[in-house]
Symmetry: C2
Subunit: 228 residues, 2 copies
Amino acid sequence: MTTRRVNLNTESVDNYLKAIFALGGPEEERVSSTALADRLGVAPASITNMLQKLAAAPVPLVEYESRRGVRLSTAGRRRALEILRHHRLLETFLYEVLGYPIEEVHAEAERLEHFISERFEERIDAKLGRPKFDPHGHCIPALNGKMSKQTSRPLSDIEEDGEFVVDSISDRDSVLLKRLNVHGITPGVRLRVLMSSRGEFVLRASGRFKSLQLSLSDAGAVRIRSIG
Amino acid sequence: MTTRRVNLNTESVDNYLKAIFALGGPEEERVSSTALADRLGVAPASITNMLQKLAAAPVPLVEYESRRGVRLSTAGRRRALEILRHHRLLETFLYEVLGYPIEEVHAEAERLEHFISERFEERIDAKLGRPKFDPHGHCIPALNGKMSKQTSRPLSDIEEDGEFVVDSISDRDSVLLKRLNVHGITPGVRLRVLMSSRGEFVLRASGRFKSLQLSLSDAGAVRIRSIG
DNA sequence: GGACCATTTTAGGTGTACCTAAATATTTAG
DNA sequence: CTAAATATTTAGGTACACCTAAAATGGTCC
Ligand SMILES: [Mn+2]
Ligand SMILES: [Mn+2]
Ligand SMILES: [Mn+2]
Ligand SMILES: [Mn+2]
């Protein structure tokens, strides 16, 4: 009755860990099976299956109690941050060195992040001059896994007109990303925000003439901070 | 009785096609199951299984008759050349742009070749100035799949002392590759060859003091052409 | 022309990562 | 507090890419 050891160095495991990390938020709260199923686009039953496997490993990658959600273990968090570092370095590299359009870097990085070696990671990091942020304004985790906390808030939380600085933009919706880019809404840019009726947001980047109207849900993809 | 269609866009299929292409040689001769099993490091039974699948596809990737070996179909050759182009562009890129040591480019390219997009391929090709040869001296197939025939011969075929130009060096043995590189034996270099007793080769690159002794089998990894 | 031997194929499994349907537990609402 | 709704897990599949062992084939050698 030898305990058969499973192989957890797979693209799939990477993606589960990244999803748990992302959904857990800065407080690393427990994540539900449904939320994961939704994010990863797989059936809830598949989630349960994988979580049981990740939790039962010799070095568990998650803490998991049946029906009580899941959170990353220390090893799981280390691995998630490693992949996130690959992802963001790749995005920066594709954008800066290979001249990709901003809305195309994410999909390419999403695949390659699982297959580049530590040497590749080191070489592009060096070539880019050890960047701290990716082209969407997201912080790149350091080699030791350290990552500074976000001080920004979602544009969708704003309740009054005002001026802000664009902190970062989610890379998950490439159509929206391109639309924002066309209107000059990129990380670091100064932004005038007007609340229209019915929870829509009207944005204008500094130095631009054309404004852009965003739905509440699209506004959730943009993070801002106060001018300063 | 619906014919279930299989997915042939996998890393595994890529590698089978590449192996058939490489083993078939310039004449694209039929390749035996054993030769493939040997090259790919899988059991002969696995080879049979995959070949049947590749041959039975709606657009067959190989021509296969039981017990008579395989060769690539037009579609299979196209795909093999596409992957070979990825591989060699990646090697050139890793070497030229990222400063990899020559003996490390192959392993990295071997993984990444299956996962880069057409955009990535195009961007590194452009960045490198549409190179025709990779850092081992191998021809990079064109976008349309055209590739010029080799005019070189293996060093191991030489039977008398002489001077030659290094054409290319196999990338499959990284230890040998590094050893050759240390002795200045790289594509384009002028090479003095002395036949020692017992089928060993003594090489000296032009402008170098130290010679290098190579076994017959290692000499098979070096291709040369006449000076001119 | 038959026996032998190497090659190749068939038959029957494995582990990974999914799936659907059914069962069960938890939460919410009346 | 219970019933309905929702969330989660269990049970029983599938496809892929491997594997080993056994059977079949085909060429060689006497
Ligand atoms: Mn991204
Ligand atoms: Mn991914
Ligand atoms: Mn190579
Ligand atoms: Mn490969």
